[in-house]
């Protein structure tokens, strides 16, 4: 809970710095912030959009979180997301079956595609000792150009001048409950499953252990290599599902386009970084990023604050929270040590060096 306070302090400070930036440029900071929240939460449609965005962030944040905290540097969320989206699109365009069959099938196939793509990088690492963060990163570029090729050539929608695929069948798009997309409920459900797995299973414990101390985990009898592989694949699976959400969500475009989810993937990384070692924070920051980004457009309409301000705000927030989190620990330990030594000194009347 100490950490929660620190995180909230970091967020508030980022908002204050943001406010200074805004007023330096002649915008009214409070009015702008109010507009941001108003336009992301207070109308039904805006709320629906915010939550749908949150759903994507939960999947990607979770994917990155899972990797980082089990000692896997998976920077390939973007590529894995694209692979998931690609498979979901291919099935969604052609499978004219009952949604009860089609939708789960698309999700599972997308998950597998994401998992396979990250699994390749994991095999590179295990088989040949190739650093996974470079291979995943390079595989992002490869996936990006592959998608660009597919949607300009074989998969192109001939009615469109710009490269994009045909949309998936309308029956394969998620439905809504009220204004809330099904992906939101699914994302929360998946979050709960992953949370339980992470905290209450033996494998989850091993993941956490490996993330905290690889050597210790190995000495303690964990199959580190096997865990590395599974953790990488699970991370890819989550990213692949995010890709499927981007294709199948009712607020989405339901077609494959180049650059699909590129910014979302880096937002996912940010969310994982800012969440540190607390999985519930992923949920909180996913919502939070959803609010900021959804609200930014309305804010631009109301107050003329350029929407790229939010990029800056997010970046400042990440820096502040990271600094606060790690330093506060150091700081608290320092104070503890001081007070202890003072106590010792007063008891023993002897200087402690």
């Amino acid at each position: 809970m100490k950490k929660t306070v620190v995180v909230i302090l970091g967020v508030l400070l980022a908002f204050i710095v943001g406010a200074i930036l805004l007023s330096a440029q002649g915008y009214h900071p409070i009015e702008s912030y109010i507009s941001m929240f108003k336009n992301s939460l207070l109308t039904k449609i805006a709320l629906g959009n915010t939550l749908a965005r949150m759903a994507i962030f939960i999947m990607l944040g979770l994917a990155a979180y899972f990797g980082f905290n089990s000692g896997v540097s998976n920077l390939g969320l973007f590529g894995q997301l694209l692979m998931g989206a690609l498979v979901a699109t291919l099935i969604g365009q052609h499978l004219n079956a009952s949604p009860v069959i089609a939708i789960p099938l698309m999700l599972i196939a997308a998950a597998i595609a994401g998992g396979v793509y990250s699994g390749i990088a994991a095999l590179f690492r295990l088989g040949f000792g190739m650093n996974e963060f470079i291979t995943t990163l390079m595989m992002n570029f490869i996936a990006k150009y592959l998608i660009a090729y597919l949607v300009t050539n074989p998969m192109r929608d001939p009615n469109s001048q710009w490269p994009m695929s045909r949309p998936i069948l309308q029956s394969n798009v998620f439905s809504r409950i009220g204004d809330i997309d099904m992906t939101v409920f699914l994302a929360i459900l998946i979050f709960i499953i992953v949370f339980l797995y992470w905290n209450f299973t033996r494998r989850g414990y091993e993941f956490r252990l490996t993330g905290a101390n690889n050597l210790f985990a190995r000495l303690g009898g964990c199959e580190v290599n096997k865990n590395f592989f599974s953790s990488m694949v699970i991370s890819g699976v989550l990213a692949g599902i995010a890709g499927a959400f981007l294709i199948m969500g009712s607020t989405q475009q339901n077609k494959l386009i180049p650059n699909l989810g590129e910014t979302n993937a880096s937002d996912g990384l940010m969310i994982a970084i800012i969440s540190g070692q607390s999985m519930p924070s992923v949920l909180f920051f996913s919502l939070f990023f959803g609010i900021i980004q959804t609200g930014s457009v309305g804010m631009q309409m109301d107050t003329n604050v350029p929407s790229e301000f939010t990029v800056m705000l997010q970046a400042i927030m990440v820096l502040f929270v990271v600094a606060f989190r790690d330093y506060s620990e150091l700081f608290i330990n320092l104070i503890k040590a001081r007070s202890k030594s003072r106590k010792l000194r007063t008891e023993d009347h002897e200087p402690v060096c």
Partner: protein, 303 residues
């Protein structure tokens, strides 16, 4: 001028930014600091170099500005990992995301342009014709008339880095720190200042690299201009284990791959696939390198 010569010529020029950044990264590699903020350092210096050159109308100040911009990010990075003891990996990624946002935002707010800053007021680095080499047919076209940082890098920086890492006392301490920082601490040399020193040099070289990109090869700034070149530099460092000569060769090789990739379109390969080439070749290079490492290890085990 035929295509082949042109590919070599522009590969050399476009390899220099990557080369400089990778040489900088060699220092932090040897100090065992995992510096993935290089992409951000490069991007920042590309921006400040152009901004200062634009404001002052002088490439010298532009160069200084480029280095200063990179050093600011280096100081933040060092402060975080050495003072606040944050994780290098996380801090690096956070800084990269931060610099992308910050340069975009500043570009739009200061210059009131979006996307790119292109202006005749930006004074690029001067190009130099080398008197004798200039007249040699093929070699002259490739080597002569490049911008000044190309020559500085090849003639001064590479040898200097080589000397400093392998032949100087500082290099010894640096590599010792990277090998085991506690051991260095125990003989009375503080490892943190050495790490800081190595990061500063890294920042300086990344600053030169960013400047070589925005004021050397180009004379403009665009959003997210580094476009993954910092990552390629990082891959090169890992491949060469921070050896300056290896870095030099691989950087140029990657430059050539970029050029060859584009020209492969002439034989009918779709542009999306030719654009993949640098990234695929990185993976392939990593693969070959790792196989060799493995062989060496198993040889060592046999002995």
């Amino acid at each position: 001028m035929n295509l082949f010569v042109e590919i070599l010529r522009s590969s050399l020029a476009s390899a220099i930014p990557v080369l400089l950044v990778a040489l900088g990264g060699a220092y932090s590699f040897h100090a065992n600091v995992f510096n993935i903020a290089m992409e951000g350092m490069m991007l920042t210096s590309a921006f400040t170099a152009v901004a200062i050159s634009y404001a002052t109308g002088s490439w010298v100040w532009g160069l200084v500005g480029g280095i200063a911009g990179s050093l600011v990010i280096t100081l933040i990075f060092s402060f975080f990992i050495l003072k606040l003891k944050t994780g290098e990996f996380i801090t690096g990624i956070a800084l990269n995301l931060f610099t992308t946002g910050a340069t975009t935002y500043l570009l739009r707010q200061i210059f009131n342009v979006k996307g790119a800053l292109i202006s005749p007021k930006i004074v690029p680095l001067p190009r130099i014709d080398i008197p004798l080499i200039k007249d040699i047919p093929v070699l002259g076209t490739i080597l002569s008339g490049q911008n000044i940082l190309v020559y500085i890098s090849l003639i001064i920086v590479v040898p200097l880095v080589f000397y400093q890492i392998y032949r100087s006392r500082m290099g010894l301490r640096l590599r010792a720190t990277g090998f085991d920082s506690r051991a260095v601490d125990s003989v009375g040399i503080k490892s943190d200042p050495i790490k800081f020193q190595s990061l500063l040099i890294c920042g300086l070289l990344c600053g030169l690299g960013g400047t070589a990109l925005s004021l050397g090869y180009m004379s403009l700034f665009t959003e997210n201009m580094a476009a993954g070149r910092g990552w390629i530099a990082l891959a090169i460092i890992i491949l060469t284990q921070g050896q300056p000569i290896g870095i030099l060769l691989l950087s140029i090789l990657f430059g050539v791959f970029e050029g060859v990739g584009l020209s492969l379109q002439n034989v009918g390969i779709p542009s999306q696939f030719t654009a993949m080439l640098p990234y695929i070749s990185t993976i392939v290079a990593l693969f070959i390198f790792s196989r060799q490492q493995k062989k060496k290890k198993s040889l060592a085990a046999d002995l």
